[in-house]
């Protein structure tokens, strides 16, 4: 059982480190590189560096509020029944 936990923990850490390095390269290093270097084909245009985090944040907030709302509705229904 602890092997599964450690595998999930390792996966989470690797995902977070890769996201951090990719985003750091994208925002800080790539704008300083010349426009005809080959690196630019590995990175989307810089506007997407704003759109994707904002979109992810909005999606996270809406999912959280949906979850909280559904839990509140369920508890009210249970109270009315009892």
């Amino acid at each position: 059982m602890e092997l599964a936990d450690r595998a999930v923990g390792l996966l989470l850490s690797l995902i977070s480190i890769s996201i951090f390095t990719y985003f750091t390269f994208w925002v800080i290093i790539v704008p300083f590189v010349d426009s005809d270097h080959f690196v630019h084909q590995y990175f989307l245009p810089l506007e997407y560096a704003i759109i994707i985090p904002v979109f992810a944040g909005v999606a996270l907030l809406s999912l959280l509020s949906l979850f909280v709302g559904s839990v509140m509705l369920k508890s009210r229904k249970k109270n009315k029944k009892a």
């Binding site: 059982m1 602890e2 936990d5 450690r6 999930v8 923990g9 390792l10 996966l11 989470l12 850490s13 690797l14 995902i15 977070s16 480190i17 996201i19 951090f20 985003f23 750091t24 925002v27 800080i28 704008p31 810089l46 560096a49 704003i50 985090p53 904002v54 944040g57």
Partner: protein
């Protein structure tokens, strides 16, 4: 209340620093505009990293688990003798 004031003052200090960077133009402007989003994303990444590291280092204590199961069985038997309903078996 004090904790909220601490957080608000920290946020105010960071935004003042950011506006100062915007005015002073030491760093190119596009970088300065992207700085808050970069900080938020890196904070989220740091939280995820801490969760992953904590998961990896969490001790499971298998002997304690066995002892705990024995304690639970003993307590259930004791309470059932005394007439308390503990049933979820």
């Amino acid at each position: 209340m004090k904790h909220i004031f601490k957080i608000i003052s920290l946020l105010a200090a960071i935004s003042a620093f950011w506006v100062g960077l915007l005015q002073a133009s030491i760093i190119p402007r596009t970088h300065t505009w992207l700085l808050p989003i970069y900080l938020v994303v890196s904070l989220g990444c740091y939280g995820l990293l801490m969760v992953g590291v904590g998961l990896m280092q969490f001790p499971t204590c298998p002997q304690e688990a066995v002892l705990l199961q024995q304690d639970i069985a003993e307590a259930k038997g004791f309470l059932k003798d005394k007439g308390v309903d503990v049933g979820s078996d």
